[in-house]
């Protein structure tokens, strides 16, 4: 079930919303939201509900174990065992076939061909997200950052909450703990306006901008070898804005839905294309993931407080390579992560010089580097990426793809919003009558677009 589907908007959401506010006690509301979230998740593949329930139960009992254990060795066991189980599940479903096929390729390259079995594994939607939820919960409990909850329904509500279940933001328990604890005292009308405002803006970003751009560039990517230089740049720029509006649109909708149920979710995007350098970019892009990687990987590795400079670069590279791999089981994602790791290292080395450049140049330079990185992220293989880069950086004549006018208009609007407008967390969401009318008009256009039956899933669902 997609947020941008009629069944979600006209059936699921009204039932869950009115049902939720009819209930009075905390427990009832936890159970209601958990049940609704499992139904929401089950519409993709009901079999994977058991997997999520298992992961939830393991983490919940690990939390209880940590709560009762004082002995450091026991505490360590209560952390290591469930985290290993979670990572094994993630590894199996997401990376088994990738590992096997990579091994087969390597052995063929070494002239010792082996043919290991490839399993027909379906990747459970959102497994990367809820696994990070549970792991962050257990690590925070181990570190004493949070006190694990004794309430199973509160915990399962936190893990499975439908608004952020399948594509984030990756919410840490401490970020929503207070709102979950006060769920029975939540005021329905308090965040009604801001919730709908976030939701509507997110929906418009996704349906009107991201999907429009996608409709034009998707076919062009398939025919990348025949693009002109201009066409290749348009295509890559199109993807740059598509992924931003798609993912930030989803995050805005998730935040908006959270508000509607009295739960404040954290910001996931802070105008990343306004970043002044690559480090700044990672503080603004997919914030919930980058902070998770920082807190649970980079800092435990030693972070920047290490004895030698090369160790900082090593830590950065490991973090970004694994961050790339988190996005998907493909070497292009790993390369994309490595590319950003190298850029972060270079910024560590030459940041002082970079920071002296004019601000506009810093922004443009950072944006350019990010755009080049998206080529690897979008391409299914290195040959496609290399072909696209060759088209971009050598002059070539070729075909222009259909829908050029639409793309230019969409890119102009997208660029204006991404580079110059305030983001949804910077807005005060107190609209005057003109902006309300504009929002209603935009939302109507969105509903009509959805009604035509051409919905597309969110890009980050595949991760």
């Amino acid at each position: 079930m997609l947020f941008n589907s009629l069944v979600f908007l006209f059936l699921f959401l009204p039932i869950v919303y009115f049902g939720f506010w009819r209930l009075r006690t905390k427990k009832q509301r936890y159970i209601w939201l958990t049940g609704a979230s499992y139904i929401f998740y089950g519409t993709w593949n009901y079999k994977f509900c058991a997997l999520m329930a298992f992961s939830t139960a393991v983490s919940y009992f690990a939390g209880l174990g940590l709560l009762g254990a004082a002995d450091p060795r026991r505490r360590k066991l209560f952390l290591i065992i469930p985290v290993t189980i979670d990572l094994l599940l993630l590894g199996f479903f997401k990376y088994f076939n990738f590992t096997v096929s990579s091994f087969a390729q390597l052995s063929a390259w070494l002239h010792v061909p082996v043919h290991p079995p490839v399993l027909n594994i379906i990747l459970p939607v959102g497994i990367s997200f809820y696994t990070f939820h549970t792991i962050s919960y257990m690590v925070d409990a181990y570190r004493g950052v949070i006190t694990p909850t004794r309430n199973f329904w509160e915990f399962s509500c936190y893990v499975s909450l439908f608004s952020q279940l399948v594509a984030g933001p990756i919410v840490r328990f401490r970020q929503v703990e207070a709102d979950l604890d006060n769920l029975d005292h939540a005021d329905r009308t308090r965040w009604l306006d801001i919730g709908w405002s976030f939701f509507a803006i997110g929906m418009m970003k996704k349906v009107l901008l991201a999907d429009t751009i996608a409709a034009i560039i998707n076919s062009a990517w398939k025919d990348a070898a025949h693009l002109s230089t201009f066409g290749a740049w348009l295509c890559v720029l199109g993807y740059t804005y598509q992924i931003y509006f798609d993912f930030s649109g989803y995050s805005d909708m998730a935040v908006g839905l959270g508000y509607l149920f009295g739960i404040r979710l954290p910001q996931n995007f802070n105008s990343p294309y306004k970043a002044l350098n690559i480090s700044d970019f990672w503080r603004r892009w997919h914030i919930s993931l980058s902070t998770c990687l920082r807190d649970y990987l980079y800092i435990p590795l030693g972070g920047s407080r290490v004895s030698a400079n090369w160790l900082v670069y090593r830590n950065l590279l490991i973090t970004m390579l694994l961050g790339g791999l988190w996005h998907g089981a493909n070497w292009t994602f790993v390369f994309w992560g490595g590319y950003h790791g190298v850029l972060l290292c270079l910024y560590k080395l030459f940041g002082k010089f970079w920071d002296r450049l004019p601000v506009a140049l810093q922004r443009a330079g950072t944006f350019f580097l990010v755009v080049v990185g998206w080529v690897f992220f979008r391409s299914d293989s290195f040959s496609v990426a290399a072909g696209m880069l060759a088209r971009m950086f050598t002059f070539s004549t070729g075909v222009l793809f259909p829908g050029l006018i639409g793309l230019l208009v969409a890119l102009a609007i997208a660029a204006a919003i991404a580079h110059f407008a305030r983001n949804t967390f910077e807005m005060n969401h107190e609209w005057n009558s003109w902006t309300v009318a504009g929002l209603c008009l935009g939302y109507t256009a969105t509903l009509l677009a959805i009604a035509s039956g051409q919905q597309s899933p969110f890009l980050y669902f595949q991760f």
Binding site: L192, W196, A215, V436, L439, C440
Partner: protein, 386 residues
């Protein structure tokens, strides 16, 4: 004063307006479903088809549909206005909901035509359907009982009883692509069908229609159709690329005319011999059951459009497998004692000859046969019966 202002602010707040907008959208969708969809359609099928369970006939009874600028469904699916071939369409149904214009109807029919949309005469004027062409050649009335799916034996017997037909022909139009499916079971309707039949008997046709009509109207969403139309308008390959074109295959005939196919039209059964045997067994049973009622079955084997026109493309495609599968089916039917009229050879010959005159046995923008196609089919049946 402050409270009033605050309330006004709330009423016009986005949190109140957007849910109401959604409610309005929902209500509009429901209300529009009770408005006739005819103006939104470009052919009879969508406007006439009944979506509620009905006793026999698949279309809304006693209804006439006319459109001057109808065009083929494949061009519609692909949203390809340049490839549309506009033509006039009349589609008139009888009291039972079959495509039988009163002007052509006669008492004491000598036969019934059954089959799928080809038998119905989709896209054809009333007087060019197969049943109309047969009526003209045989000099006796052939009742058109075509439906989206060929009638089951029990339903056919009900039609024959209503028509008081105790001796005569049953022409079963059988399209090549149907060999991809398994034949229906001998008692196809099962418990659900029995329950439905009981319901219809208990209710009577009038009440069934009275209850069913609103359900029928609820089935189609004009709002959705309008949104889709709007999408197709915008996706004109200039403003936005036409994503619908991916659903069809665009080709060119060797005389230069463009033709569009659905990918499904190129499919052949994986095991044609087995498929032929299964269908032969089914038709042998069907034929023997009809014989008990004094009716004689004639199976008309209609090739897919691709089997006839793929060899005539500017870059011809091999259709030997399809031809062989049709031949297998014809042989199996004849061996099973079923009277069969295969059309493939005659069609292949005529299509080649007519190509230079820019005449076609099938529509170039639709899967169905044209008036020329039904005329040839009626000729073949007439010759075979002589």
């Amino acid at each position: 004063m402050n409270d009033t202002a605050a309330n006004r602010g709330r009423i016009w707040g986005i949190g109140h307006l957007l849910p109401r907008l959604m409610l309005l959208f929902f209500l509009l969708d429901v209300i529009l479903r009770f408005v006739p969809v005819d103006p939104l359609t470009f052919r009879a099928w969508e406007a006439m088809l009944r979506h509620y369970p009905n006793a026999v006939g698949p279309f809304i009874p006693n209804k006439h549909y006319h459109r001057d600028n109808s065009y083929g469904g494949v061009a519609g699916i692909g949203s390809l206005p340049a490839l549309r071939h506009y033509h006039s369409v009349d589609f008139t149904t009888d009291a039972y909901g079959f495509h039988n214009p009163p002007a052509l109807a006669q008492s004491n029919p000598i036969g019934i035509v059954i089959g799928d949309s080809f038998a119905v005469g989709s896209e054809l004027p009333d007087d060019q359907s197969l049943s109309a062409q047969l009526t003209e050649r045989f000099g006796g009335y052939f009742y058109n009982a075509g439906a989206p799916q060929p009638l089951h034996l029990r339903s056919l017997e009900v039609v024959a009883q209503r028509l008081n037909l105790h001796r005569g022909l049953v022409i079963f139009e059988f399209l090549e692509s149907r060999t991809l499916q398994d034949p229906p079971a001998a008692t196809p309707d099962g418990a659900r069908g029995a329950a439905q039949a009981f319901f219809f008997r208990a209710m009577g046709p009038q009440w069934t229609d009275r209850l069913g009509t609103p359900l029928n109207e609820l089935h189609a969403s004009p709002l959705r159709a309008l949104s889709a139309k709007l999408q197709k308008k915008i996706q004109d390959d200039t403003v936005l690329p036409n994503s619908f074109a991916a659903f069809v295959i665009q080709e060119r005939l060797r005389n230069g005319e463009p033709i569009v196919f659905l990918p499904a039209e190129f499919k052949s059964p994986n095991h044609p011999r087995k498929a032929a045997e299964r269908w032969a067994a089914y038709f042998a049973w069907y034929s023997s059951e009809l014989r008990k009622d004094g009716l004689e079955l004639v199976v008309l084997l209609v090739p897919n459009r691709t089997t006839i026109y793929a060899p005539l493309l500017a870059q011809p495609r091999d259709v030997s497998a399809s031809r062989a599968a049709l031949q297998d089916l014809a042989d199996a039917l004849q061996n099973a004692g079923v009277f069969t009229v295969p059309l493939e050879r005659r069609y292949a010959h005529d299509a080649t000859v007519l190509l230079n005159q820019e005449k076609y046995l099938y529509f170039l923008d639709d899967t169905h046969w044209s008036g020329d196609g039904t005329a040839v089919a009626a000729d073949e049946i007439f010759k075979a019966r002589e």
